[in-house]
Amino acid sequence: MRILFKTSYLDDIRLIRHGGYTLWYGALAAALLAAPLVLAEFYVGELSQVFILAIAGVGLMLLIGYTGLASLGHGAFMAIGAYTNTYLITKGVPFLVSFPLAGLAALAAGIAVALPANRMTGIYLAIATLAFSQIVEQVVVRWESVTRGFQGLPVPPPDLLGHPLTRAWEFYYLCLAVLVLVVLGAANLIRSPTGRAMVAIRDSEISAQSLGVNLVRYKTIAFGLSAFVTGLAGALLGHKLKFISPDAFNIILSIQLLLMVVVGGLGSIHGAIYGAIFVGGLPQAIALMRDYLPGAIARTPGLEPGLFGLVMILVVLFEPLGIYGRWLKIKAYFDYFPLYRRATFKRQRSYLKTERVR
């Protein structure tokens, strides 16, 4: 069991808390850098897919996990990122410019959503973001001069200073680099005053407000940043799919993103990553399972969303803290070995907060 002595505020917000962090994250970095040398090309592609999902997951986590604002329409921000990026590239803009611009387009959309959304709470916000994603989907379908509607758009490979990244391992390193930047950015954001304000809003809007946190301002920032990161993920997803059409960004994608942050564990960046591994790996697991399932079940087209639903139900009912929460529990069990108490992680008594006032 390790005891950390903190003597200053800077000690409290350090990213690398002790030597173990350097060791394990170093090992992880080495493994990820070496992965394309060892793995077959198919798995390298799958890993880049997981990275893209993780980027979007971190984006959504900033909003749901850290600011406490529900969004059921984050697939729309991915669509905006993907289409902006592709449109600019086909117009001759280099990838290094079009990629951040894709994020900025999503950021602008995020702020546009935040303006009405700031007046809503809880359930209204969830429904409004759902409506937003439906509207974006229709716009993508109908704005044929830019998006070519249901015909879809082919996406050229990302071009890095005159060198097109066509091979799987090149794209893998690109996704990895973006993911590392996004994760570091998010971790730094959370320990900055802005991030603290977001967390305060999540825990109690009223107390945050009375401590002088400008709700409208920080909610808008949270929406904008979340949309920015998600837009970047969308641009990468476009390159991964090599072909984008409105079907790729429908409500199922939004729900998958939601599943990711919930299954991974709300309120931690680790959670977004674990969730991405889970969601990215589940189709593979289902594909493997299909061989063992009876034919009639295995051939059902709706199997995957159904399994997603089932997993989400089980997680919400039995492990509300998600995969990361389970990991923390296991760690705590060994840290305090004979003294672990179940109640450590017990949800504090909180009744459903009523929104009604009479």
Partner: protein
């Protein structure tokens, strides 16, 4: 004349939205849960009716009744076995849980009944009534009449029966209702049952028009717009919200460029939320410290 024709069609469509939205609002008023699986409950109800009427060849009304009863049982069990367990968790957990239930239902329906669009014979299919120059399909009339009758029955139920009064009391103040000897848990499960029955009625009335397949549950998203316009508060407001959405959607499909029909419901909803974040006919206010 064309306008009148369109408006009648819009009213019929709006009635269905109103009925689905009624299911949301019943549950929301009672338990403050928003049931994102309401559209999928409607889909399951329609499929059950299809099984009873189309496959087993029962009489339409008998099959209707059986489907409604089965769905009522399902609704009761859903609350008693699944949803009651997460009371006390953040509202977000409930949103996720009901969304996942919807996915599970859709997948199960696809597994049991297949993903093809199906249809069953009703007494209203493909028949028309001519009122002067107005030519009205009987399906539309049945939707409007069904909604009116159901709304009337619900009004009587909530105001003149013991159990309806108990439901109102429980949704106004659970603790006080419990002290008065009302079995709040069972009442909440019964409200889920009632809401599933309303969803079934919506599904069966809609089935001649939209046909039946596992994805008709997505109609539930539009019904949200209706519920929000109505303000999640009063039952009458909800049906009115449904009518507003239904009529404007039909008119937009005729007079506006393509694409607007699909999104006009959301545009109205966002507009309402901008002007009155609590809905047009709402009773909800911001919490004060």
């Amino acid at each position: 004349m064309e306008l009148a024709q369109l408006i009648v069609g819009g009213i019929a469509q709006g009635c269905v939205y109103g009925l689905i939205a009624l299911g949301f609002v019943l549950i929301y008023k009672a338990t403050e849960m928003v049931n994102f699986a309401q559209g999928d409950l409607m889909m399951l109800g329609a499929f059950l009716a299809l099984t009873f009427i189309g496959t087993m060849g029962l009489d339409y009304w008998l099959g209707f009744l059986l489907a409604a009863l089965c769905m009522g049982l399902l609704g009761y069990l859903l609350d008693a076995l699944v949803l009651r367990r997460i009371i006390g968790q953040p509202q977000f957990a409930i949103v996720i849980l009901t969304i996942s239930l919807g996915f599970l239902f859709r997948s199960a329906a696809g597994f049991i009944w297949g993903h093809e669009t199906q249809v069953f014979e009703t007494p209203f299919t493909n028949r028309i009534i001519a009122l002067g120059e107005l030519v009205l399909p009987l399906e539309s009339i049945s939707m409007i009449a069904g909604t009116v009758v159901l709304a009337g029955l619900l009004y009587l139920f909530f105001n003149y029966t013991r159990i309806g009064n108990a439901m109102q009391a429980a949704s106004q103040n659970q603790l006080a209702a419990y002290y008065m000897g009302i079995p709040v848990k069972r009442i909440n499960s019964l409200i889920w049952a009632l809401s599933a029955i309303v969803a079934t009625i919506a599904g069966v009335l809609l089935s001649p028009v939209s046909l039946v397949d596992p994805s008709i549950g997505f109609l539930g998203i539009k019904a949200f717009a209706a519920a929000v316009v109505g303000g999640f508060g009063s039952l009458a407001g909800t049906v009115l919200g449904g009518l507003i959405v239904g009529i404007s959607e039909t008119l937009a499909g005729r007079y506006l460029p393509p694409g607007f029909k699909e999104i006009v419901a959301y545009l109205i909803m966002l507009g309402v939320l901008l002007v009155r974040p609590q809905g047009l006919f709402s009773t909800i206010q911001r919490k004060k410290v």
